[in-house]
């Protein structure tokens, strides 16, 4: 009898690895294959835009620990390019056909790149997502560029701005919004980061859109042309424009998948084009989009480290369970960042917040804990160097606690609420019912 095809993890990053470990820890002893687009064993991404960029860590020091004996077949360096559900087979870019009994889709997300027709292919224009990106950007930084332009004030944009100022480079950060991190944290909090940028000696240009990059005769970037007709000279550009879910390979597979993610039910089972869960295909991590009960069953994909770990573990559990024992995934999204010497942590989703209260510390001191409210409920909590307070508020958020959360505590001045200051959502080319949390 031929060997069974076993379980295949498509994606060999954090979610694929932790999912594989969970399968082995739960006693799965059958064949296990991890398919990875990159040639590297799973590595940790958060250090790339921080310690690797600044030179405290080599890119190849970021390999993740393998916390269980996987006894896996690794198919690295060749991405999956097609899925044939009828024959339960994957096709890889190198031509291999790979059979599966069960599949975990954990292909993650890809950096949104700058369009080639407006200068995206010029040398000196970088994105930062993978280990090789980080190594290449680090090398470019070591060549001491004279003027760096960072496009996009999300987490990657702000973290890289912080690192490059630590290295003494001339940095300009442009963002269409009034402050950095406006889409994820609002301008009330984003204003603190704008102050940090200026204190660190970076130029911050709010309300600014880049139209195109221009190069010299040798194809090297020299400047950015702005929508308002102005220009910014730069010999190194970091396009920090967020990410799109790696679902291109699922085209034609008959699944609910698009650049916003692959849609799952609460049990992490992927839905087919008719909306029925596939019993043998699960998804986890950045690529997965699922309904979160805490936020009204909105379909959300959560591009955070903790979700990759937890969701992969949960999907692995359900992959091994009977069809009538498929448990729902319960998760409160959370992320952290460090920039400008501040440890930033968020628990919950801020989308739709109508009020914000600073409940510990003060915004002026840059050490504070803020709670986001919506319709009288606490929906998210954010800490700037106040991480130890966060778990208490996380509990309140999970329980749907009131906003403002605590009034008239003995050691607190009267808590005042403010508008969080979310900018209007940019008009998307293709409106979608779902959303992505990527800060």
């Amino acid at each position: 009898m031929p060997e069974p095809a076993g379980i295949v993890m498509v994606g060999a990053s954090l979610a694929g690895l932790r999912g594989a470990e969970a399968l082995r820890r739960s006693g799965y002893a059958g064949p296990l294959t991890l398919v990875g687009a990159e040639p590297h064993r799973p590595y940790d991404r958060p250090p790339l835009s921080k310690h690797v960029l600044v030179g405290d860590l080599d890119a190849d020091a970021t390999r993740l620990p393998e916390l269980a004996s996987l006894h896996a077949r690794w198919r690295l360096g060749s991405p999956a390019i097609a899925l044939d559900r009828t024959n339960r087979t994957l096709r890889l870019a190198d031509g291999t056909a790979l059979a599966y009994d069960k599949l975990l889709i954990a292909t993650g997300a890809e950096a949104r790149s700058w369009p080639a027709e407006t200068g995206g292919r010029l040398s000196g224009v970088f994105t930062l997502r993978g280990r090789d990106d980080a190594a290449a950007l680090r090398a470019a930084v070591q060549a001491r560029p004279r003027r760096v332009l960072i496009v996009g004030g999300g987490l990657i944009g702000c973290e890289t701005a912080s690192c490059l100022r630590d290295l003494g480079l001339a940095v300009t950060l442009v963002d269409p919004n009034p402050t950095p991190l406006a889409a994820s944290l609002g301008t009330f909090v984003g204003g603190v980061i704008a102050d940090c940028l200026r204190d660190a000696g970076a130029a911050f240009r709010p309300g600014t859109m880049v139209r195109a990059f221009e190069g010299d005769g040798s194809g090297r970037v020299v400047r950015a042309r702005l929508s308002d007709g102005g220009a910014i000279e730069a010999d190194l550009v970091i396009a920090a424009l967020g990410a799109t879910r790696a679902t291109g390979w699922l085209q034609g597979a008959g699944l609910m998948a698009d650049p916003g993610g692959v849609t799952c039910d609460a049990a992490c089972r992927v839905l087919d084009a008719e909306g029925a869960p596939c019993p043998d295909i699960y998804a986890a991590g950045d690529v997965a989009r699922w309904p979160i009960p805490l936020y009204g069953n909105r379909l959300v994909s959560v591009e955070h480290w903790g979700n990759a770990v937890e969701q992969a573990g949960h999907a692995a559990r359900n992959m091994l369970a009977r069809p009538d024992d498929q448990r729902p995934y319960q998760h409160v999204p959370a992320f952290w960042s460090s920039q400008f010497g501040i440890n930033i942590k968020l628990v919950g989703l801020t989308a739709g917040a109508d009020a914000l209260a600073v409940v510990q510390g003060s915004r002026a001191s840059r050490r504070f804990l803020a709670v986001y409210g919506r319709n009288g409920r606490s929906i998210a909590a954010l800490s700037f160097d106040q991480a130890r307070w966060l778990p208490a508020y996380a509990q309140a958020i999970t329980a749907g606690g009131a906003f403002p959360p605590i009034l008239d505590a003995t050691d607190q001045p009267r808590i005042e609420t403010a508008a969080p200051g979310f900018p209007p959502r940019a008009t998307a080319p293709a409106p979608s019912r779902s959303e992505t949390v990527h800060a």
Partner: protein, 79 residues
């Protein structure tokens, strides 16, 4: 500290969602964990094997169990 991957390093990762900056790891294994600013943890994800004892103490000392250490040698086939 500048960290370069060793020939046969250990593998460490900290769940920074869990980390609360108690700094117990910094006392147990000061060559592998340091705090920067008020509460940013910087750690060596690929420390030399000789630090294993100290890092195992750090794993045990963490009040929120945020540190994971690869216990055994690599297994499985490479591509």
């Amino acid at each position: 500290m500048k960290i370069v991957a060793d020939a046969k390093p250990l593998r460490v990762v900290v769940d920074l969602n869990r980390c609360q900056g108690y700094a117990q790891c910094c006392y147990a294994a000061p060559d592998a964990f340091t705090l920067r600013g008020h509460e940013i943890l910087f750690y060596d994800p690929a420390p030399p094997a000789a630090r294993r004892g100290a890092i195992e103490r750090a794993v045990q000392a963490c009040p929120v169990r945020a540190i994971s250490l690869q216990a055994g040698a690599d297994d499985g086939e490479t591509p």
